[in-house]
Amino acid sequence: MTLLGPLGVALAVFVAAIVAPLALRGLGDIATKAPQTAPSRTPFAGGLPPIVHAWSRYHARYYVMALVFLAFDMEMVFMYPWAVVFVREGVTAFVEMGMFITILLLGVLYIWRERALEWS
């Protein structure tokens, strides 16, 4: 660990994550003595060959939900330090957290009104 330093460790993990699946796949091909052929690598959609390449740009429709999730997830993180001091601070902490949650709840209602939770 100390030998590589934090950046070196990250790099080692990165390299291992690329090499490991390739090595496993290569080993599998060697073990079966019959590597995958071009037709067996095409995507399965019922047996007909694909017309165009699978690289295509589409609307990542879930991105609003993903952003909303991240925002509320971070707000949940704020509750952990609060839980630690809750017993010591008593009613004050409770009321403060109540206000915080109320503001969040208004945010949820706003998201609901803007239809950000609907797929289409």
Binding site: T37, S40, F44, A45, G46, I51, H53, S56, H59, R61
Partner: protein, 438 residues
Amino acid sequence: MSGLLARLAAGAPVPVFPVAGAGARDAVQDLRLQSELSLLDSPRAANVLLVAGTIPEELWDALARVHDMISRPRCTIFWTLGDPELRPPPVLPEALVVDADVAGAIVTAHRELLMGKRPSDPPVLPDEDPAQWRGVGPYGQGGTGMTGGTPYGRPMAELGPDRDGLQLDVLPLRVGPFFPRFPAGFSLDLKLAGDVVVEAVPGPTPYAGASVPPRPGLSPFVRALSEPVSIVELEMARAREHLRWLADALMAHELRTLGVRVLRLAANVQPGDGPAVRRLGRVLALTQVLTWSTKGVGRFTGEKVAGLGLGPVSRAAGIAEDLRTDDPGYRGLGFEPVVQQGGDASARWRQRLEETVQSLDLAGRANGTRTEPADRVESPRGRLEASSTPAARLLPLLADLLQGLEWGDAVTTLVSLDLDLEEEAAVGESVTAGQVVR
């Protein structure tokens, strides 16, 4: 160590990818009741390719491609369904031909395969990409698209407007003919923008020119075109067809345990089972997941289907068309067609359940009554004639119906329509057979 692993793997349920040809639909479906087999939706997850019944020549290329996609070690089993003259398609030269006890044969072959006693099937298609990945430049570089050129001979998708006002790729895609959610042999030429169907055109029907004996579930209706058939036989066959559809549809909606239960009921259904089917309907109404995914999906208006004789699909849209009302035998039993309002996938589910109950009731009361032979017979999927089948009349309506749906809703719609392309081959056979008799 590897011997122990192989033995353990051989003891697990056998992963099978089934391909049901003409006449094999019911027999392959019944294999889902066998606990030692696991019928899968993708060839990649399977080690055994099971091919059953007649596969028309148009589908041989697709079958070869599916064969090569089966995970190694793999083997191919061809099930003749007891027809000694049926041979496996020539694209599968290594197939093991089985007449009876197909489950036992699959388990044995799979065990031999894993223990190394049987060699893995070699690929049948050559290891060639459709074209080299080359751009327009002298060193294969450059061109249009994301990386330039046409990767492996496949052009990049083209741009088109998205429903959110963006310019995004419209992906042309061909699904079928062995896509597990579609009826056997059915394929769809799609254009997808994200998950929305921009255009859907049904592909050619492979059984159009073929002539194969109808599968057992369909044969009473084909016979009723030329000879008197007892109403008990017809109505029990109708109830079984509807229950078999229900089992498939439940599995398509990933309610697999319920699907197996329905399949077991379909195998042993008796005229007194009406209450059991009603209970089933109540259970289905309680599973809200099904209601959410079918309500308002794939709606046919009454005008659109009027006069087409699409059986439960027409009657679910409020059109009381049923050829059974023309038959004196059925009239004597006081037959009245049941109809639903709505015409969506949900109405079609309800309609088939109610028709099953009605069929069981008719079968219980019919005693020895027989139908009169007619040119047109009400089959479980609608008006069946020698010259025209329900599926052939339904296919031209699909392009309009599927356009604009999300892909999941499009599959829900197709499942609820219960297409059966085999009817055409079955009716063709009956016409030929009739000529031989005359």
